[in-house]
């Protein structure tokens, strides 16, 4: 029998039961959608990371108490919680030791616990500002640029001045019609004078980077306390060539600052763009495996759905099968016909899932502000898997149809 005929037959018999075919198809669509959308989004992210997005400012390395994916498991988290904080004293010691080896050394501590909300003239920002106590190197170390006004300077830090450099969102919210420079705002029970505004940075991984305000680290400790806070230290070497040498020196200085003996391991984490990339990639890998397993289960369920519907269809069409056999259809023809229908449902669902998945994944990528991709590999794999499901789960019903005794099938009412 001609291939064209088989396709036409499958099309017309599926068309006779549109709702049922569509619902069966939907199962496959969901399974394929879940895997394709996740793979598209992760692929897009990874793509842009590998092609040069920097987590840190360029060339920068950073020391911190906690590793990136500290949320990975309870046991490891405990280990890091018990680790000593990096105190401001230790950070200052590092700062001194590294003088002359690096142009920018940024000490910073985050007030994540503050639920900071800035108020000016009765107007309030959201209560989720990122408050950072730091020094003038923060901008370079975190790839911010100053919009206007001035940056923090060493004197601000020495004198613990109550000054703030604020992000674009804060400026927009509180000062839509006037300059914020020189204005005094209240934040978490303290008042600050705004001296500078950062240029807009946009979102990164879906988080706004413009609802930030930075103040001298010394002021931060005075206002919000120093106990239970840990300081992150970012260092920028003089040049790319000196990166590795400076990193070695930095690790040495850090060990001294932490008072480690020669036989003790580093009790701090070292962040480089490379280490962040590989951390991201390993997280992405876990998400991928998760998406893969989930969609495999979904596809399995969808496959069983196809088998169920095909069995119903064979029973309903017993008479038709009898008629076809009585006028010369071979068992093979009947097998092909039903198998094609199963593959057809599966493939149609798969193609729809791929289209929706790519759209969904790319919408996510769009929101994360990374370049869009089409995951060819996964799309092809999706089609192959769908064919396999169609054939795998369609075979038994098709076999039952093909094996029907012509006369009994004809007699069926």
């Amino acid at each position: 029998m001609l291939f064209r005929e088989i396709i036409l037959m499958a099309w017309s018999s599926l068309g006779a039961n549109k709702l049922r075919s569509a619902l069966t198809m939907l199962g496959i669509t969901i399974g394929v959608f879940s895997v394709i959308s996740v793979m598209t989004a992760i692929g897009a992210l990874q793509n842009s990371i590998e092609s040069g997005i920097s987590f840190l400012g360029s060339n920068i390395f950073q020391f911190a108490k906690y590793p990136v994916n500290v949320d990975a498991g309870g046991e490891t988290k405990k280990k890091f919680q018990n680790r000593r904080n990096i105190t401001y004293r230790q950070a200052l010691r590092y700062y001194e030791l590294m003088q002359g080896n690096a142009p920018e050394i940024c000490l910073k501590t985050f007030g994540r616990d503050l639920k900071a909300q800035a108020v000016y003239n009765g107007v309030k920002t959201t209560p989720s500002l990122t408050v950072v106590g730091t020094n003038g190197s923060f901008l370079t170390a975190n790839a911010y640029t100053l919009g206007y006004g001035r940056n923090l300077n060493d004197e601000d830090v020495e004198l613990a001045r109550s000054v703030l450099v604020v992000g674009k969102m804060i400026e927009r919210r509180l000062f839509p019609h006037e300059t914020p420079i020189g204005k005094v705002i209240r934040m978490s029970g303290h008042t600050f004078t705004i001296v500078g505004v950062l240029a807009e940075k946009g979102t990164s991984f879906g988080q706004s980077q413009d609802d930030i305000c930075i103040m001298p680290i010394t002021r931060f400790f005075e206002d919000y306390g120093e106990a239970n806070r840990t300081v992150n230290i970012a260092t920028q070497p003089f040049s790319t060539e000196l990166y590795n040498r400076t990193l070695d020196k930095g690790i040495g200085a850090m060990r001294i600052a932490r008072g480690l003996r020669a036989n003790q391991e580093n009790d701090f984490e070292i962040y480089t763009n490379d280490s962040l990339k590989s951390a991201f990639i390993s997280v992405a890998g876990v998400v991928r495996i998760g998406a893969f397993v989930i969609s495999l289960i979904a596809l399995l369920a969808a496959g069983i759905g196809i088998m169920n519907i095909m069995l119903v269809s064979v029973t309903e069409r017993t008479k038709e099968i009898g008629v076809r056999k009585s006028i010369g259809a071979r068992s093979r023809d009947i097998l092909q016909q039903f198998l094609t229908e199963a593959v057809f449902i599966s493939e149609a669902g798969g193609i729809l899932g791929i289209i929706l998945g790519v759209i969904g994944g790319d919408l996510l990528a769009l929101w994360l502000k990374v370049d869009l991709i089409f995951p060819y590999g996964w799309a092809i794999a999706g089609l192959v898997v769908c064919s396999a499901i169609g054939i795998g789960f369609g075979f038994y019903p098709a076999y039952r149809a093909a094996a029907l005794d012509p006369i009994e099938a004809l007699r069926y009412e």
């Binding site: 029998m1 001609l2 064209r4 005929e5 017309s12 006779a16 008479k319 038709e320 009898g322 008629v323 076809r324 056999k325 009585s326 006028i327 010369g328 259809a329 071979r330 068992s331 093979r332 023809d333 012509p406 006369i407 004809l410």
Partner: protein, 252 residues
């Protein structure tokens, strides 16, 4: 009339197209065993017109399905064109049903969602004939049964007689040597039944072998040979006298 010659030699001889010997068919239904056929032997030659008669339950349909290679006997031998049917595989049987035999059923057995044209094309699809040729042949077959203007109608848009004519067009479209008709007029009124029998007569005249199951003497009269079944056995096997068969032709 050219049939005169044939009618003189009305008892055919020579090689037969169908030959069955001592065919039995048993159905086991739980405790009970039904003997549908108890040992039937029959020889059918090319271009015969046979009516198989008998009361309901006498085994007519069972015999017919056997002859059409749709069913297999419990015992006995069936040779189709000199080949033992028991030794044929699924593909060979399908090929015989496709090319050698055209089946016409009492209940028409058309595909309800397909048009007349598509229904008639079906055997050609399984014969692997290309779409253009197929459509032409199907249209021609429908024309021959007088349904040229009903090609794109679905079965539920046709009358009983028209449906049966579609079924006949389907049976003859692949130009099979044998037409098997199991009570083709059973679901039709006598006028429509007469029209169907006229189509059968034309096919016979054109050289097809016609095997017709019926329990109505009126219908059986169209045939040249009548086999009577009773309780799964052949009771009589008669060739009609020349005069009566001539009468049958002129009256239809």
């Amino acid at each position: 009339m050219e049939t005169l010659d044939e009618s003189l030699n009305i008892r055919p001889h020579g090689r037969s197209v169908i030959e069955i010997q001592d065919i039995t068919k048993r159905y086991v239904m739980g405790e009970e065993i039904v003997h549908a056929l108890r040992g039937v032997s029959l020889r059918i030659h090319r271009n015969e017109y046979i009516a198989i008669m008998g009361p309901s339950g006498s085994g007519k349909s069972t015999l017919m399905n056997m002859l059409g290679c749709l069913d297999t006997p419990t015992s006995g031998r069936y040779e189709f064109n000199g080949k033992n049917v028991a030794e044929m595989d699924d593909n060979e049987l399908a090929e015989i049903r496709n090319r050698e035999i055209g089946f016409v059923f009492q209940t028409f057995n058309l595909l309800p969602r397909s048009t007349s044209l598509r229904n008639v094309e079906l055997p050609l699809i399984y014969a692997g004939i290309n779409p253009e040729k197929r459509e032409e042949m199907a249209a021609h077959a429908l024309q021959e049964v007088g349904l040229a203007d009903r090609m794109n109608h679905k079965p539920n848009e046709l009358s009983g007689g028209q449906r049966q004519r579609v079924a006949i067009a389907r049976a003859l479209v692949n130009n099979p040597s044998i037409i098997l008709a199991d009570e083709p007029t059973g679901n039709l009124d006598s006028k429509t039944g007469g029209e169907i029998m006229a189509v059968m007569e034309t096919l016979y005249q054109r050289g097809h072998t016609i095997i017709l199951v019926t329990h109505e003497a009126d219908i059986a009269r169209h045939a040249r040979r009548t086999v009577h079944l009773r309780d799964g056995l052949i009771e009589s096997d008669d060739y009609l006298p020349l005069m009566e068969s001539e009468f049958a032709i002129s009256s239809s």
